[in-house]
Amino acid sequence: MTSTMDRRALLTRAALGATGLVAASAMGSLAPEAAFATSAQAPDPGAPDPNFAEGLITGRNQDLLQVKGSDGRLHKIQLTGVTSIWKLRPTTIDQAMIGDGLYARGVKLPNGVLAAESVWLNIVNLDVMINSISRTGLNLDHFGQKIFGHVQEGVTAAAYNGTPAISDLSLLKVGRHVQVIGAWRPGTSEIDIATIYAAN
């Protein structure tokens, strides 16, 4: 697969069923539940998971990240071409910057490096109250701490009462509790909002 466009074109055709199958008969034994049942939970409840890392990015050497965990542990995280990166939206591995907060899941290699499969940068999940609404975003009260949530056109969406998320934010109300998935702006008390869950 060469360029992004070629790759997308190929995947588009595959997903819509315009390509032939090579291994049609191999399926059946790979029921998802069976696949999960084989991977036993390694760490005990309450204990850290070696295949997971959390912390602030303190250094970057090409695609190897140095991360300082909030529990004091240091992590080395290898990004690859197949690592998914979320930073307000799915993005590319070059977006992992020094100072970003990080959660990563992958496979711990024998040399101690975590080969990342999924990385989430600056992601926060907050239970907040809407203090006021402006044209650029929401003033949020997070257990007494003031946080500004920027609305990003084309990204920010709201899910009202469990219905599918829509871009229309005009049903948000001042004084209501909402859950916000967003991307923290490092070193500030501001976030960019990805999804708002509001119950009415």
Binding site: V22, P90, A165
Partner: protein, 272 residues
Amino acid sequence: MFAQQVAAAQPLLIGLLLLWTSYGKLANPEEAEKTALPKLVGEKRAKPAYRAIGIIEAALALALLSPPAWTAEVLAATALGLGFTGYLIYAKVVVPEASCGCAGKSAKPVGYRSIGRALLLTATAAVALTTTQGWWSAGPATFILIAEAAAFIALSPELDRYWLLPLRRLRVRLSHPLAGTASTTVPLAATERRVILSPAYRAVTGLLRSDVRDYWDEEDWRFVSYTARYDGRSATAVFAVPHSDSESVRVAVVDETSGQTLYRPALLSMAS
């Protein structure tokens, strides 16, 4: 003469204010934990200290409100106001996350408004020191207290929900600042949710090895791709999510190197 009366009226306001704040402390003594008191007097003594302040406030309030009018009462109120101001500045500097604990339940950290309110209390008590008359002889000067009370309310974060929030709510109802955000493009969050809840996702979930890697739109569909492993091979799982509700979500697993389609649960994609 009028200045005398204004000064004389102050104990009424101070008394009512202290009654309110003492009620908050005595009714919810557990609020002490959130304040700077545990740091100042120790964990064990925080709650008794908090309650003691409430009792002092209540006693002083009753003394101020009832005759006779003693200068000592007003002097005590001034000292209390100064004490509060000093304590709040200490809290803001030493324990920034501590709540005020001034009046009633509030998790908000000490802000400049709370400090301003303590200063205003000190100032009104100081003004009252200039007279020996009781508030019951203040006459029309009592109306000045309405303006002062408004200032106290404006400086009380605990009362915001009774006036500031409804005001903001009304503003948003009259003209919602985010009214222009509606668009026809489907947010990615909605697409991801549809994928996760679909039978197609359940059919390949054991193969997925990453979160969303890429997404794009083409005609009536949105496509979302994930890293996958299939039979030991490196692969990509690509979901096709229709913009309309009439079609169901489809998925294919494509070999990373050869680009060949390895798996496509055709039957599942038809079951909606």
